[in-house]
């Protein structure tokens, strides 16, 4: 397996995992961050 010149699955996993984390954060932030701004507390 060759991933942008990298062959070790562990190293590839480090990069892919990092990008997946960012994708999750963006999706979570967009979905759970919707709503009114003025809500101060639950």
């Amino acid at each position: 397996m060759d991933f942008f010149g990298l062959t070790d699955p562990w190293i590839i996993g480090g990069y892919v995992g990092s990008f997946l984390c960012v994708a999750f954060c963006i999706a979570y932030g967009v979905l759970k961050g919707r709503g009114e701004e003025d809500e101060n507390d639950e």
Binding site: F4, T7, G14, F19, C25, I26
Partner: protein, 547 residues
């Protein structure tokens, strides 16, 4: 080091930077009307400021030059630290700890991390212990970050004879805006500094891959290096089990243990219990803002650490091509430590391109930003632990009052004292210590506080005795392993050498390469669980007897 820093360009950029920093310090000062606003600035920052402030505080110069240098030595396996930074330091921290910390902090009226734990467990002892842990351990971390930043700045600019002046100037600048502007100035400056770091690190990544002819070409070149290298691991700064810069080391080998337990677990897990980061959660207006801040925070974190670790590893290709040596060999023959690999690489690679001076200056400014964004947050946290937490406890004990201290000036005075102490530490600490000092601070806070913090946030009836047992076990075991067993951390305080005559108790054992956190945290968790079972059982038995 290589010539290449245009002091006029760097001086101009620094002057503009300082003006903006002081303006933001002034903004913080004008918006700080009481002690709660000085300590927490609740509702004063939106999701963008929280995200950038959290990221810039979390990622110090240690992440860029300390661990970037380690990536140059140990290779791309350090990218797992980037993954852990994102997963544990951001996702788990925000989703598991962020919301409950904010809500409990608000409900209990807590203004600091020690205050929060003390109020959750209704324990002055826990508040005092946490504050003392912060005051004792955090200045070491702050000094390591300050020393690392100043070292790099002095060496890269060629102003080593002005090292003392640079150190003191940087300390004074940070102290001024933290003392006057409190947490508001700290957070707004963090965000400004984060923006500079972001631009600097992204430019460096792009230039690096452009130099090697693209991502695949660069990675393939690094992959091909290992076969050409001399197999003397000692000269490469690595240990038995190392398989090259694009391969993970052999499972269970000394190299694997060092990378996984010290760099990955020590720093990755330790991020969860950082008092200076928990305050960012407590400053948020609502949980929605915390969720929104994940968007910017994750992109920022990936850009900074991902760039630093990737560029660090790839620098080996550059140094082999241009000097016939790996990054570690090249920097070692210059008499410098691994913390200088990234700065030296930046100086050299930008020397032949257009606007190289501007980019080098931008990188230097990014380093300064990375250092002072972390130091300012640490300084503020230590100041609050002394001027607010310990003073409140002392005042209450003397019977002067039962409430929390409202004195902003006392916090300010304590911050000044700690800044002086931090500068003194800089002269006492060994060189090349940034990554290890970061690991020690994060390790001991995690071992001592993580199980109790988690239990306190999620239990409806937090058990004080179990928390105290877990904190005690975590601290004692961590200190023992750090000072007597782990070869990397025993250098901080050579107690073992003074007592036994040898640096660590088992120098040839795998334990010498195992980070103390790997032993201390499970012990701390186990003690917490056992103590909870025991004390809950005792409480039930007592309740049955009474009824």
């Amino acid at each position: 080091m290589s010539d290449g820093v245009d002091l006029t360009v760097f001086g101009t950029m620094t002057a503009v930077f300082l003006v903006v920093t002081l303006i933001l310090g002034w903004y913080g000062y004008k918006n700080t009307r009481n002690n709660e606003e000085f300590l927490l600035g609740r509702n004063k920052a939106g999701p963008m400021i929280i995200a950038l402030s959290y990221g810039a505080t979390f990622l110090s110069a240690s992440a860029v030059i300390g661990f970037g240098g380690q990536a140059a030595v140990h290779g791309m396996s350090v990218m797992w630290l980037c993954l852990l930074n994102l997963f544990v330091g951001l996702i788990v921290a925000f989703l598991v700890f962020g919301g409950p910390t904010r809500r409990k902090g608000r409900a209990l009226g807590a203004s600091t991390y020690a205050d929060l734990l003390g109020k959750i467990f209704k324990s002055k002892g826990i508040r005092a212990f946490t504050a003392i842990l912060i005051i004792v351990m955090m200045p070491i971390y702050a000094a390591a970050v300050l020393k690392g930043g100043v070292n790099s700045l002095a060496v890269i600019t060629g102003l080593t004879e002005y090292y003392d002046y640079i150190l003191i100037a940087l300390a004074v600048i940070v102290a001024v805006y933290v003392v006057y502007g409190g947490i508001i100035a700290v957070m707004y400056n963090d965000a400004f500094q984060a923006a500079i770091m972001f631009i600097g690190m992204v430019v460096i990544l792009i230039v690096t891959y452009s130099y090697f002819g693209g991502v695949t070409a660069g990675n393939s070149a690094l992959d091909g290096l290992w076969d050409q290298s001399i197999a003397d691991l000692g000269s490469l700064g690595v240990q038995e089990g190392f398989n090259g810069w694009t391969q993970f080391s052999d499972f269970g080998s000394k190299e694997w243990l060092t990378v996984v337990t010290t760099f990955l677990l020590g720093v990755g897990i330790g991020a969860l219990t950082q008092p200076q980061l928990a305050v960012r959660f407590m400053s948020a207006k609502n949980d929605r803002d915390l969720n929104k801040s994940l968007i910017v925070g994750s992109v920022f974190m990936l850009a900074i650490v991902g760039s630093a670790y990737t560029v660090g590893a790839l620098s080996n290709v550059y140094f082999i091509d241009n000097h016939g040596m790996t990054a570690f060999e090249y920097i070692s023959q210059m008499g410098l430590g691994t913390d200088f690999i990234i700065p030296e690489y930046i100086l050299e690679i930008f020397s032949d391109i257009s606007f190289g001076d501007v980019f080098v200056s931008l990188f230097l400014l990014s380093l300064v930003c990375a250092a002072i964004s972390t130091i300012s947050a640490l300084l503020h946290t230590i100041g609050a632990a002394g001027g607010y937490d310990l003073y409140t406890l002392w005042k209450n004990k003397k019977g002067h009052t039962t409430g929390d201290s409202q004195s902003v000036n006392l916090n300010r005075a304590f911050i000044v004292v700690i800044m002086v102490l931090t500068v003194v530490y800089c002269y006492l600490m060994p060189n090349d210590i940034i990554a290890k000092a970061t690991s020690v601070f994060m390790g001991i806070t995690a071992a001592a506080l993580l199980p109790a913090y988690f239990h306190g946030l999620y239990s409806k009836n937090p058990c004080r005795k179990a928390a105290i047992a877990s904190m005690t076990a975590g601290t004692v075991v961590y200190l023992f392993f750090a000072l007597f067993v782990n070869a990397g951390t025993s250098v901080f305080l050579p107690v073992c050498e003074m007592i036994t005559g040898q640096k660590v108790l088992f120098p040839d054992s795998v334990l010498a390469s195992t980070d103390a956190l790997v032993i201390a945290l499970p012990v701390s968790i186990l003690v917490m669980v056992l103590a909870l079972v025991f004390f809950r059982h005792t409480e039930k038995a007592a309740a049955t007897e009474t009824s």
